[in-house]
Symmetry: C2
Subunit: 248 residues, 2 copies
């Protein structure tokens, strides 16, 4: 200790250590499920490297993408267990929750695109997640979906809650406003307001609660007072926000 | 457009597009200089993938670490130029600023640690940065430094401003408080208040302004009203904060 007066020394020694729920570095995160390998899906893992125990669930393809990047070794294998899961096979999470991953139309992560490769990638590259509880309540989480095939529409029909890809308002909005060179579809996303877009595709699916997630900063539904937000709300859609809590 | 009433349609079409300084996605960042390959030094690059033009300067070793992680391909090579720089050879930045990297005692990035490897790594793994302007003013940026050899102390002597490694208050604080299992030195950091620590090592170097950076959340100097902060301030040290602006 440098130059601490006896007085300061006493203050330092007497200070109580603040205690979170269990130890100084407690985290309530018991499991992480990845729905793809794109930067916005996986970069947050780099913040979970504080020697907290959790299980990391993803398809084999997405685990391969992580394993190809040594930076994710920052997740200490003594604490973080990487578990590969198969599509369409339910698996258990802590707290009695059952999860299931299923293929949705999408694309390979941008940083894995290679000339000549099929951008659509493998069925395991972009997936949707179903979570259900002991009470039978279920929700779906689908942050990227290039179009809505009949099979997925039927899966979602009548469900309690769906979080869904709200990337763009219209397919060409980034090109029109000059903020990008790609359409939504080229990026693996259907758009909210297009004629065969999300609002239209969900109109007759009787989903009790519908929430847009994964919203690009060019999408005007992000503005509380935009006419686009009003259109989405009138069609029964909410817009997710940081700190949103859900009770099913 | 789905179900937009003529009224809403008119509002949408009449809305002016807000313009930042140059186009919708302007960024004032013209160059990024890395002082190491550790997660906290490089993860922020993943936020700079919006097709903004900048040059990424780093040693060959640090560029190798990035290249070994395909996730950084998210930095489109059409916009981001990766430039390797040699130690102790000044190079030009935009705006008439001259930069120079030099070796400091440190360690290889945690995620690159391998059993049997020398943790100290290569001289290019952990570096300090010198920035100088046409006016002759200069500052140093050294976020990780395991101890202060005489050569580096002499380099810093009498300088205008030094940003320096403030990771821990004492070498064993994470072990004592139960938030970690490693000493500061094992992580490649000298500590602020240790007998041969930072405050003592800088005491006679006549640096005009001294600012702690890279401060771990276990270090009590982060608290404005802590006795440790008072000790550091009395020794002429400031504590950096988000949004801090410097005029040299």
């Amino acid at each position: 200790m440098v130059n601490a007066s006896p007085d300061l020394r006493q203050q330092i020694e007497a200070r109580p250590i603040l205690q979170p729920r269990r130890g100084l570095r407690d985290s309530p995160i018991a499991a992480v499920i990845l729905t793809g390998g794109e930067v916005d899906a996986v970069a947050g893992l780099l913040h979970l490297r504080e020697s907290q125990r959790f299980t990391l669930f993803a398809t084999g393809r997405v685990h391969e993408a992580l394993q190809a990047n040594p930076i994710f070794n920052a997740l200490n294998p003594a604490f973080v267990h990487r578990q590969s899961v198969h599509l369409d096979r339910p698996f258990d999470l802590p707290g009695g929750i059952v999860a299931e991953l299923f293929a949705v139309p999408g694309k390979v992560a941008l940083y894995l695109e290679r000339e000549g490769n099929d951008l659509a990638g493998d069925v395991e590259d972009t997936v949707g997640l179903r979570l259900s509880s002991r009470t039978g309540a279920a929700c779906y989480f689908i942050p990227g979906c290039e179009h809505l095939p009949a099979g997925i529409a039927e899966r979602l029909r009548g469900s309690d809650l769906v979080f869904f890809d709200g990337t763009l308002w219209t397919n060409d909005e980034m090109i029109r406003e000059g903020s990008g060179t790609k359409t939504g579809q080229r990026m693996g996303h259907m758009s909210v307001a297009d004629p065969r877009g999300t609002i239209e595709s969900f109109r007759d699916l009787d989903v009790r609660r519908k929430v847009f997630i994964h919203i690009n900063n060019s999408n005007p539904i992000l503005l509380d007072d935009s006419p686009e937000r009003a259109i989405a709300a009138r069609a029964g859609w909410e817009v997710a926000y940081d700190g949103m809590e859900i009770v099913l």
